[in-house]
């Protein structure tokens, strides 16, 4: 047995999340909530909840064009949030950050604005482990532009098989879009290396950061990618906000996505002149309070430290992997060397939905389903999987409890 450090995060972060104090009622008893569905969405610390209330209690106004105090304040805080995101991911300029609803919108925007660079006969390359959000937009673009869509395969550990791709690079590949962290296997893909090699061939690189930015220190300049998409709600921020990072050189030459207020400099009845970046990509009233609260979440995470969060989650995950592997009939999917805190599994003779529902009865929230990754499921010849996913506020004791319940489950079904 490997020795796994059970050190806690130094600050008692659990107290920062009011929902983690919630009790659930089961058979007239109160039981604690054990939230292990963090890859779907994370909980929000009190400071973020307070920031939202503060905005609407004292500051609320529309941004940009206002010449009054509330408007100036809201605009300053909104633009400050952009700078916080910029620093959080190591972007060179604040205008490289475009606020979106989340990763899905960021990837749709990217596929839309890059459309002109994909000609008939070109290839768009993604991986076979993508979330639907990083698959369907490219399917649609490929079909529209008569390009083909190709897939980097993954092996039995849930790692991408890259050698063949880079040894026999196909010059028709114009865009490569790949996830940094898999939401099924927990694999952290070697995105820096992939980017470097793809760039050698002049290929545009897009990264789905939905499962990585919440857990790792990201430096987009070090990675070198051209676009990076993130959801705020998976990293302590509210729903309805996320962002697309795009290299300035790219954003500056790209057309807008949605159109309306703010994205145009000058509108005539018959045509329009587009605004500067990032506003060109933010049509209409944005999710102002969402962006500001995302800034608050980022400050909260940074205070704990992304390196510390990552290390703690690694210990937690290793601990869980080891304990779960001991359960007979339980099979874990994904065994990458470099991985995040997502663990997908199945149990002999027990359907994932039944696992999830019975665990819920014990207060444990996990996910069961195809995780918006049906092609992955098909390759594994499964229709669904159970998945636990941790965040830095989870505890070793919660894993002990989970494992105990999984043992009971096995007993009950056999």
């Amino acid at each position: 047995m490997k020795i796994i450090e059970k050190t806690q995060l130094s600050t008692n972060v659990r107290m920062d999340f009011p929902i983690l104090q919630r009790k659930l009622v089961r058979n007239n008893d109160e039981i604690p909530l054990i939230y292990l569905d963090n890859a779907a969405t994370t909980q929000k610390p009190q400071v973020v909840i307070n920031r939202i209330a503060h905005f609407y209690t004292y500051q609320n106004a529309n941004v940009h064009r206002a010449v009054h105090q509330l408007g100036e304040e809201a605009t300053a805080d909104y633009e400050n949030a952009r700078r916080l995101v910029q620093k959080f991911i190591g972007a060179a300029f604040p205008e490289e950050i475009v606020f979106t609803r989340g990763t899905t919108e960021a990837l749709n925007m990217t596929a839309h604005v890059l459309g002109q660079f994909v000609k008939a006969g070109d290839t768009i390359l993604i991986s076979a482990m993508e979330h639907h959000s990083n698959l369907v937009p490219w399917q649609i673009l490929a079909e529209k532009n008569k390009a083909s869509l190709r897939f980097i395969p993954f092996d039995e550990n849930g790692e991408l098989i890259l050698d063949d791709l880079f040894n026999n690079w196909d010059d028709s590949i114009k865009i490569l879009s790949v996830t940094h962290g898999s939401n099924v296997f927990g694999t952290i893909n070697p995105i820096t290396e992939i980017t470097r090699k793809a760039h050698e061939h002049g290929c545009i690189v897009v990264v789905d950061g939905a499962q990585s930015a919440p857990h790792l220190k990201i430096d987009v300049q070090e990675i070198g990618c051209d676009f990076y998409a993130v959801s705020g709600h998976k990293m302590c921020a509210p729903t309805g906000i996320g962002f697309l990072y795009g290299k300035k050189e790219w954003l500056e030459k790209l057309p807008p996505y949605q159109s309306g207020g703010e994205m145009i400099k000058s509108v005539w009845l018959e045509s329009s002149i587009y605004n500067d970046i990032p506003y060109r990509f933010e049509a209409g009233t944005p999710n102002i309070c969402g962006a500001i609260a995302l800034g608050e979440a980022i400050q909260y995470l940074s205070k704990i430290g992304m390196a510390k969060i990552h290390e703690y989650e690694r210990n937690l995950t290793n601990y869980a992997l080891e304990k779960m592997q001991g359960i007979k009939g339980l099979k874990i999917y994904g065994n990458a060397r470099n991985r995040s805190s997502v663990i997908s599994f199945e149990m002999e003779n027990i359907h994932p939905h039944d696992i999830a529902q019975i665990l819920d009865h014990q207060g444990i929230a996990i996910r069961a389903g195809h995780h918006c990754a049906q092609p992955v499921m098909r390759q594994l010849k499964l229709s669904s999987l159970a998945r636990v996913s941790f965040y830095f506020y989870n505890q070793f004791e919660e894993i002990d409890y989970l494992v105990k319940q999984l043992y009971k489950l096995r007993e009950f079904f056999n």
Binding site: H351, P352, H353, D354, Q357, H361, G369, S383, F412
Partner: protein
């Protein structure tokens, strides 16, 4: 010990589903899928055109305990029943689980009471009703 849903009776249907058989001969078009979990089912109806009676219902498909037991029970409930009545009962069963109607009388089959607990779990209702919806569609093709 566990949630009502997982009481013995349902677990029995789950572990020993009634009227389950291999229906590989049916095409993909005749497969009914729950988009939430990817579970799917095929239905075969043994129908007597002259009398308008369904003699038996068979199914093929793997899924969760809720799906399997709801399907197994369904095939038992509708043995030797007139098509028009089956249609009505299916609608009643689905509305009941959606919280829009009362518990239907399914020829005295007490097992269905177990599904009452589902009403608070809208996501799982699809598991319980997948086969019922499927049967409804297949009846339409008779």
């Amino acid at each position: 010990m566990y949630h009502d849903l997982y009481q013995e009776i349902l677990m029995d249907h789950y572990k020993n589903p009634r009227n389950k058989k291999n229906l590989d001969y049916l095409s993909d078009q005749e497969t009914h899928e729950n988009s939430l979990c990817g579970d799917s089912v095929k239905i075969e109806i043994d129908y007597d055109k002259k009398t308008g009676m369904v003699k038996s219902v068979f199914f093929d498909g793997r899924g969760c305990a809720v799906f399997t037991s709801a399907t197994s029970i369904m095939t038992e409930v509708f043995e030797n029943k007139p098509v028009e009545e089956i249609r009505k009962k299916i609608v009643e069963f689905i509305s009941w689980l959606r919280g829009e109607g009362n518990e239907p009388d399914l020829y005295g089959f007490e097992e269905i009471k177990a599904f009452e607990g589902l009403i608070q779990y809208p996501v799982r209702i699809k598991c319980a009703t997948l086969s019922w919806h499927a049967l409804e569609k297949e009846l339409g093709k008779l």
